[in-house]
């Protein structure tokens, strides 16, 4: 169980979290649903260990979180397959191609990010997060730029990993595809509704 108690956090001179208390299940998928700019990404960064609260306590953080950023953040000089291989230990590098196949991009293994469409880059970033082998998935709008069929396929892939996940989304149909618990939020500062 990830437990946040009375968390205060300022970001860019704004109070993003103000006394937030929240228990997150370490099992299954939790969807974080709310408007843009209400602090959902900051919450993800906090759980990923990339942001430190100004006050409050955080316990039960995942040991190896796999974070899919809101932006793809692919290494521009590496090919699609190399981008996935970059997060794998040496003995698992061969798995990169399998993950590319799972996101329907096996034929584009040697292309660099600038040669790929936005949707393709998103799938590579998602494949990288899933391939990482984390004990908790933190996915920030994982289906940006994907059509309905691909969204369904990627949602199925996320569920199939069986790894507990916190997924940030704006779309109700994505929540339906992912299943699990829904946390409705608003802000700023972020409040659980």
């Amino acid at each position: 169980m990830i437990r946040l108690q009375n968390i205060r956090l300022n970001y860019a001179d704004k109070r993003v979290l103000d006394g937030l208390t929240l228990d997150l299940s370490a099992n299954g998928i939790t969807c974080l649903h709310g408007p843009s700019g209400c602090g959902k990404t900051t919450l993800l960064r906090l759980i990923a260990g990339l942001a430190v609260p100004d006050s409050g306590t955080v316990t039960g953080l995942p040991k190896k979180p796999a974070l899919l950023f809101q932006e793809d953040r692919l290494l521009p000089h590496l090919a699609a397959e190399e981008n996935i291989a970059a997060v794998l230990p040496k003995h698992r590098i061969g798995e990169a191609r399998n993950w590319l196949a799972k996101v329907d991009l096996a034929a584009d293994a040697n292309l660099r990010p600038r040669e790929l469409s936005g949707g393709m880059r998103r799938r590579i970033a998602l494949a990288r997060a899933l391939a990482y082998g984390g004990d908790f998935l933190l996915l920030d709008e994982p289906f940006t730029g994907l059509d309905t069929a691909l969204t369904k396929r990627m949602a199925w892939l996320i569920r199939e990993t069986g790894v507990p996940a916190l997924v940030v989304t704006h779309a109700r149909d994505e929540i339906a595809l992912l299943g699990g618990r829904v946390l409705e939020v608003s802000g700023l500062p972020l409040r659980i509704l």
Binding site: A48, L50, K64, P65, A66, L67, F69, E71, R73, L75, P76, H77, L78, A86, V87, R112, P113, R114, R128, Y132
Partner: protein, 254 residues
């Protein structure tokens, strides 16, 4: 509509420009009509051809190239390492950054004369070349490190890249273009300052020493021939460096 002409070809444009300036030079030389003051391009090329065949040329060029290139490599290594050090440690930044800024702004002649007091004339050109190169590499590399994409650095942190992987996959591709450009600039400067150091320090045998002796004996055509040689070698070194770096640049291009 724009029609294509011979001038569209950059090599033809360069050859034409060279021909025009050679003609201006020849015209001026004929007008002055005193070889001691201004030898024409034909005499200079003849003198250069004689120099190229002499043993003195080979030993002098070999010595100068070795000294300047060694100094260049030392300067590149020192400048790059100091960039990382001053970026990573505030103490190192406080210690070294003012020193490197001072070296960058102080006149090269002061360093040459000071170096002559402390060092042998044979090592002065190498040390001066290194001193001129290091601040350029330090400044460019440090700026490039500071400008590395924070989003990619955060991604590397999130996926727990080890230090070496973070350097190789995130920093290196972003630093390399600026680092290569700084090396190319520094190469020219190392060559010029190294030769200047040779002119003052007079090591034997060396291009700078021969340049000084040509002036001393009022051998103006030889002075011009050595100068042409210095320019040609500088151009050649820079092209060689850029070419050798091109493969690396392609590997890390986005």
């Amino acid at each position: 509509m724009k029609t294509s002409t011979l001038l569209d070809n950059k090599w033809i444009r360069a050859a034409l420009a060279l021909a025009v300036w050679l003609l201006v030079w020849e015209g001026l030389a004929r007008w002055v009509n005193i070889t001691l003051l201004l030898p024409g391009p034909v005499i200079v090329v003849q003198t250069l051809a004689e120099l190229l065949g002499s043993a003195d040329f080979r030993t002098a060029t070999g010595f100068s190239l070795l000294g300047v290139l060694t100094g260049f490599l030392i300067g590149v290594a020192a400048g790059s390492l100091l960039a990382w050090l001053t970026w990573a440690s505030r103490l190192a930044d406080a210690l070294f950054s003012p020193l490197l800024r001072l070296v960058r702004t102080a006149p090269v002649a002061s360093f040459i004369i000071l170096a002559l007091i402390w060092l042998t004339s044979r090592t002065v050109p190498m040390v001066i070349a290194a001193l001129m190169v290091a601040p350029i590499l330090w400044s460019s590399t440090k700026t490039a490190i500071e400008e590395t994409d924070p989003a990619l650095l955060e991604m590397a942190k999130a996926y727990r890249f080890p230090a070496w992987q973070r350097f190789r996959l995130v920093y290196l591709p972003q630093i390399l273009p600026q680092w290569t450009a700084a090396c190319a600039t520094a190469m020219g400067l190392a060559w010029k300052s190294g030769i200047a150091a040779e002119v003052i320090a007079q090591p034997r045998p060396a291009i700078g020493t021969n340049l000084y002796r040509a002036r001393l004996f009022l051998n103006t055509e030889e002075l011009f021939a050595w100068t042409v040689l210095i320019i040609l070698l500088s151009f050649l070194l820079e092209r060689l460096f850029i070419r050798s770096m091109a493969g690396l640049g392609r590997r890390y291009a986005a």
